[in-house]
């Protein structure tokens, strides 16, 4: 019996590696290796022909990129998009979680509807939103001009870079708020009931409860959502490109450089720079905000 168990531990060493090996092989081969390869390509000019060939150009791609004002504009657009979308979707998700944390009839139905934007495929959603953003017949302009009167003239939201930024932020905040909602409501429901009871006995108002009981308990989840969504939003491509071709965030800039201009060495330089910037942010964030 004892021998059998020792034998088992002996074998486990190999079994552990054996079971994880295929997954690691795919992740190493299709993620880690390409990222390194991308770094290598960023120092080359890629000549596309029948045979691909690479010419070493040293830092010249990086110098060209960093002195290109178009690149810095893309950095700016990416940061504005990432920050606004993350913030707005978390705020909406937070209020949705507070509302649905109450018990009421039809709660599960409402929860289901709230998850629709997150569950539906992007391609379906962009068609609906292209219609909603239509300059003449769309509901968005109608709401802002005729109903609320916030803007005097209809706007071509998806055709002008200035407004495309707003449209993309609106669409992505809407699409991603259910993610924040799911994480936040799971945390809300884990707050012990006696915390609320104690507050009730003390006669705390709703805002006091929010400030002193709910928020402190939620800070860690909110910080995690910001980190994850921040990373995913910086890299976001499909949800932007499919809605409008007029917003040159870094991912779109890299995609165009690689597959419209076929300057793949430069595209590798753009994506490598993106990664390095993100790495800087993450280190700063983990040190300053999460305080690990």
């Amino acid at each position: 019996m004892l021998k059998k168990i020792i034998n088992l531990f002996e074998k486990e060493k190999y079994l552990g590696w054996f079971l994880i090996f295929p997954s690691m092989l795919i992740i190493a081969g299709l993620i880690f290796y390409p990222v390194l390869y991308n770094f290598y390509l960023s120092f080359h000019e890629v000549i596309i022909g029948i045979e691909m060939s690479y010419v070493f150009v040293g830092l010249s791609n990086y110098i060209d990129l960093l002195t290109d004002s178009g690149f810095w504009h893309s950095v700016y657009l990416t940061l504005v998009f990432t920050f606004s979308t993350t913030l707005i979707s978390t705020i909406i998700g937070f209020f949705a979680a507070l509302l649905l944390n109450n018990k009421f009839k039809g709660r599960f139905l409402v929860r289901g509807i709230v998850l629709f934007p997150y569950a539906a495929p992007v391609i379906s959603l962009v068609f609906a939103w292209r219609y909603i953003f239509h300059p003449v017949f769309g509901q968005f302009n109608y709401l802002l001009t005729s109903v609320l009167g916030v803007i005097p003239e209809p706007i071509a939201w998806l055709e002008m870079p200035r407004y495309a930024l707003i449209a993309v932020i609106v669409f992505n905040s809407w699409r991603m708020f259910p993610f924040a909602f799911l994480m936040l409501i799971a945390r809300l429901q884990a707050i012990p009931q006696d915390h609320y009871d104690a507050a009730k006995v003390d006669g705390a108002t709703f805002w006091q409860r929010l400030r002193y009981i709910i928020l402190p308990q939620m800070m860690f989840v909110i910080a995690t959502i910001f980190l994850l969504r921040g990373i995913w939003n910086i890299y976001k491509f499909g949800e932007i490109w499919l809605l409008t071709r007029h917003l040159n965030v870094l991912s779109v800039y890299a995609y165009r450089t690689a597959f419209s201009q076929f300057n793949q060495g430069m595209a590798a330089t753009i994506t490598t720079s993106m990664f390095l910037m993100l790495l800087g942010f993450i280190i700063l964030y983990i040190k300053k905000v999460l305080k690990w």
Partner: protein, 285 residues
């Protein structure tokens, strides 16, 4: 007394307004999609915008759906079939590999395990856009451009880390004693995985499969880079390209959008509980 009554009433009204705003925000674009899919091209263009055409609800038509489902008019079935093929195979392989990988992480003790687990978490710092150039170069150089196989491999790579993470979380929540009993009874580790772990985690495994399926079903970036022939197109890239052709009709695109979204939304809502548990387990300290 009256004061208290009004306080309670205003609280209730505020709550209801909140709930209805929430339903409106989440659901309105779907309502637009639904009514547009039932309108003729002429009925789409009205100002002020209306959901139901002027002539009332009887003016609505199923014509768009009939056209979309007719392969001679609209290649919906071909795109749907391609998407289904690519998504179901990549999700299946990902879940199969992840069951063993996640088991290894959750239950076995060996040197190097911590390092491997950390490197999986590291993957969260990368995004698909970082890989477009190198993967394109690799795919072209091994002659896999314009094949579903290349796409399946890339989707497998995209869903494997999250599958490992989610399944690892579930396996840790299954009591170890049952497995231990099976092993003491003479079951091997692999036997215990098949006879105890998989049956006990069935809902979780299905949830991870559907999550992986959804990610592949949604993917546009790599499909647009790898696939050239329209006959190979998946739904996202196929529908997107139709938008820029003369075949573009609002109602048809909306009908196709609904048919693309419906199966996924139903699957998602069916397993959402397990999915959320697996995804949020790590962050709920």
């Amino acid at each position: 007394m009256v004061d208290k009554f009004f306080k309670k009433l205003s609280k209730k009204v505020g709550f209801l307004i909140g709930i209805f705003t929430l339903i409106f925000i989440s659901g309105f674009p779907f309502v637009v999609m639904f009514f547009s899919s039932l309108k003729t091209e002429r009925q789409q263009y009205t100002f002020p915008p209306t959901l139901i055409p002027e002539g009332g609800i009887t003016e609505l038509t199923l014509e768009n759906y009939i056209n979309v489902l007719n392969p001679e008019i609209f290649p919906f079935f071909r795109f749907f079939g391609n998407s289904f093929l690519v998504a179901s195979i990549s999700a299946f392989v990902a879940v199969f590999l992840a069951i063993f990988g996640a088991y290894s992480f959750a239950r076995l003790r060996y040197s190097g395990r911590k390092f491997l687990q950390r490197s999986i978490i590291l993957v969260y710092m990368f995004g698909g856009i970082l890989l477009i150039v190198p993967l394109y170069q690799i795919v072209v150089s091994v002659n896999l451009a314009n094949t579903h196989f290349a796409l399946i491999l890339v989707y497998l790579m995209q869903v494997l880390p999250v599958s490992l993470y989610m399944l690892g979380n579930y396996f840790r929540s299954v009591p170890y004693e049952i497995e231990e009993a099976a092993i003491i009874d003479g079951c091997s580790r692999i036997g215990a995985i098949f006879r105890v772990v998989i049956p006990l985690s069935k809902p979780a495994i299905i949830a991870v499969y559907i999550y992986a399926f959804m990610i592949s079903w949604n993917e546009y970036l790599f499909a647009s880079i790898f696939l050239r022939s329209p006959s190979l197109h998946t739904l996202p890239i196929g529908l997107e390209q139709l938008f820029y052709t003369e075949h573009f009709v609002w109602g048809r695109m909306m009908a196709a959008s609904i048919l693309t979204a419906l199966p996924i939304i139903i699957l998602f809502l069916g397993v959402e509980k397990y999915m959320t548990e697996g995804l949020t387990a790590g962050s709920l300290k």
